[in-house]
């Protein structure tokens, strides 16, 4: 129970109709609200509006041009009975999981190596980061060439005398997705390495000292102490990587064109092919709606945990 000094503070409230009136809610923070208009418009008109538009038209039989002729779930039925879509999904899953794991693991390993107070850190970091400056188109082209069995690595190794050397992922339907992966990892690891490096730099020096005093080997410290501490950094990385993976398109087009035999198709390419190649917007919209749905299924819980949850703590 509080004991405020009754004699001093228990003065009755001033009469109503106080001089300064409580201003209207809408007008408070007005500048901020005005400044946020672009964001609000983008969020509502583009991200929500366009998405809804797409979802609505996915129930129509739009061909080359959007057309409000509803056909129920036909587009979705066809989507899920199209082998190419199924292959795309499967490819995205394989690529996505591998890329996420590899990018995180490699990014972390490289960051950890660079964090060991080494000489030439700047040089190594720049080398690892520079591919991120290049577009996926360039990445795809270069790696297409490097992996071309007649010109690239296979040819070079064979010409060195190892005749039976076989490294030809781009023309092997079972391996082509890994050929893409090599290029994708090359392009994207740098950024996650950079983020992880920043994260590692943020770890309290004393933690390292404590584990050294206890005689814990470096690798164990990384595994049991540092990595668990870097959870938020991993989450940031994951979001960036995941948003890139979903959009995987340019790389495929440039590197394999979906081949050989459609074995490296991905959903975004399916969408593009349907919308522009087949001039069947409805089908493309259905496919993109499915992509969105899966993103939302993955993201909503995450967004809730990261942003919604934090606010309440």
């Amino acid at each position: 129970m509080a004991v405020t000094d009754q004699a001093q503070t228990a003065v009755p409230r001033p009469a109503t109709g106080a001089p300064a009136r409580r201003p209207l809610r809408v007008f408070r923070n007005l500048a901020s609200k005005i400044a946020a208009i672009p964001m609000v418009l983008t969020a509502l008109v583009i991200f929500v509006g366009c998405t809804l538009w797409t979802v609505v038209y996915s129930f129509t039989r739009s061909g080359m041009l959007p057309r409000l002729q509803f056909v129920g779930l036909d587009q979705y039925e066809r989507l899920w009975s199209t082998p190419k879509w199924l292959v795309s999904i499967q490819n995205l899953a394989i690529y996505g999981i591998c890329a996420m794991v590899l990018t995180l693991v490699l990014g972390f390993l490289l960051a950890a190596l660079l964090d060991r107070k080494i000489r030439g850190e700047d040089v190594f970091r720049t080398i690892i980061l520079y591919p991120f400056a290049l577009s996926f188109i360039v990445t795809g082209l270069v790696w297409q060439w490097l992996l071309n069995p007649d010109y690239g690595i296979q040819n070079v190794v064979r010409s060195l005398g190892w005749e039976s050397f076989e490294f030809n992922p781009l023309y092997n339907p079972d391996l082509v997705i890994f050929g893409l992966l090599i290029a994708g990892i090359w392009h994207g690891t740098g950024l996650s390495m950079c983020i992880m490096l920043a994260g590692l730099r943020g770890i309290d020096e004393d933690i390292w000292k404590a584990s050294r005093v206890e005689g814990i080997p470096t690798w164990k410290t990384y595994l049991f102490v540092i990595i668990p501490m870097m959870r938020p950094v991993f989450v940031t990385c994951l979001v960036l990587i995941a948003s890139g993976i979903i959009k995987l398109y340019d790389l495929v087009v440039a590197q394999t064109g979906g081949g050989p035999g459609g074995s490296s198709e991905v959903p975004a390419k399916y969408v593009m092919d349907s919308m522009f190649g087949a001039q069947n917007l409805g089908q493309g919209f259905a496919a993109s709606s499915m992509m969105l749905l899966s993103v939302i299924i993955i993201l909503i819980p995450w967004a809730y945990l990261e942003y919604g949850g934090k606010k309440r703590v």
Binding site: M39, I46, V48, Y130, V138, Y151, Y249, L299
Partner: protein, 318 residues
């Protein structure tokens, strides 16, 4: 060492030394532990890094080497071998002679277009995103977090999904095909990640600074321009780098939402690379690719440390 105070303190130390029993060194190790330059851990660390560097540099090496070779050498030779005869012809061809349809002026035409697209797009997208991030970090209002979440979700939507609706929207507001339409598109698609970065950065700026400025009577814009902006160099560096590379490398929006006179360099690059006749002219393609990638590459090579620092400030504190 003529400072008497120094002498005094040395005398003091000597006195202390005798008191504490400074009796000199004993047998055995002293000083720093001697280090072998080729300790196992060093071999592992540098070995791995060098191996990884090879993987990362290989494509660049091949691109540069190929772009300096003549076609006959490419057909017969090893792609990794340095050119026996260096020729800059592919570069010249890529820059000034390669044909697109009936225009044969190579990439040069696209370069300035790219610059004209790049500058306003980068400026405006960063300006808008930084103000958004600032509003979200310091001037939260009801629903601001909701919009932010939508924005972040938006980062996951494949661009292709929005090509048509945005084309229709731009057509409706009469910006289709104009430079400003393109700027608008870049601003929209750059917004999620940039806003996230800026929001995180401004959140990490001490709140007290912001409060002090409010007490000093600065308003929304006053605080932004006078207090926040001068402090935000690292995050602006990151934003500029991300946007410059993103916008410079963009093909899809550049080709769809601008028109013929304004096609960026990437469109020319695509035209050169995809205009095949017989054997691909790999050397020209590589030269063209390198020329196109030059701007972002230079920016990356020049700003390495700032980038890491900015990332640390903007991404990690998320």
């Amino acid at each position: 060492m003529s400072n008497p105070a120094d002498l005094a303190s040395i005398a003091a130390i000597d006195a202390v030394k005798t008191r504490t029993g400074g009796v000199g060194l004993l047998e055995g190790p002293r000083g720093a532990r001697p280090r072998r330059a080729f300790s196992r851990s060093n071999i592992f660390i540098y070995g791995t890094l060098i191996l990884v560097s090879v993987y990362y540099l290989l494509p660049l090496w091949v691109m540069v080497m190929t772009s300096l070779k003549g076609m006959p050498e490419i057909r017969t030779g090893n792609i990794f071998a340095p050119p026996m005869e260096i020729t800059f012809e592919p570069w010249v061809k890529a820059w000034a002679e390669a044909c697109t349809g009936i225009n044969c002026d190579g990439l040069s035409r696209g370069f300035w277009n790219s610059v004209f697209i790049l500058v306003p797009s980068v400026l405006i997208s960063i300006a808008v995103a930084s103000v958004n991030g600032y509003a979200l970090a310091n001037w939260k209002f009801k629903g601001s977090e909701v919009f932010f979440t939508i924005l972040i979700l938006g980062a996951f939507i494949p661009y292709q999904v929005m090509i048509y609706p945005i084309a229709i929207l731009l057509g409706k507001i009469g910006l289709f095909g104009s430079l400003w339409g393109l700027v608008l598109v870049h601003t929209i698609f750059g917004m999620p990640i940039l806003t996230l970065l800026f929001r995180n950065y401004f959140t990490s700026v001490p709140q007290e600074l912001f409060k002090a400025a409010r007490v000093d009577g600065a308003g929304f814009w006053g605080i932004f321009f006078r207090i926040m902006l001068p402090m935000s160099l690292p995050i602006f560096v990151v934003a500029v780098i991300l946007q410059v590379t993103g916008i410079w490398n963009d093909f899809l929006f550049g080709v769809i939402y601008s028109n013929n006179e304004r096609y960026p360099m990437t469109v020319q690059l695509n035209n050169i690379v995809n205009s095949v006749q017989g054997v691909k002219e790999y050397n020209v393609n590589m030269a063209a690719t390198l020329l196109t990638g030059l701007v972002p590459l230079v920016i990356y090579f020049a700003s390495g440390k700032l980038f890491v620092r900015g990332i640390a400030a903007g991404a990690v504190k998320g």
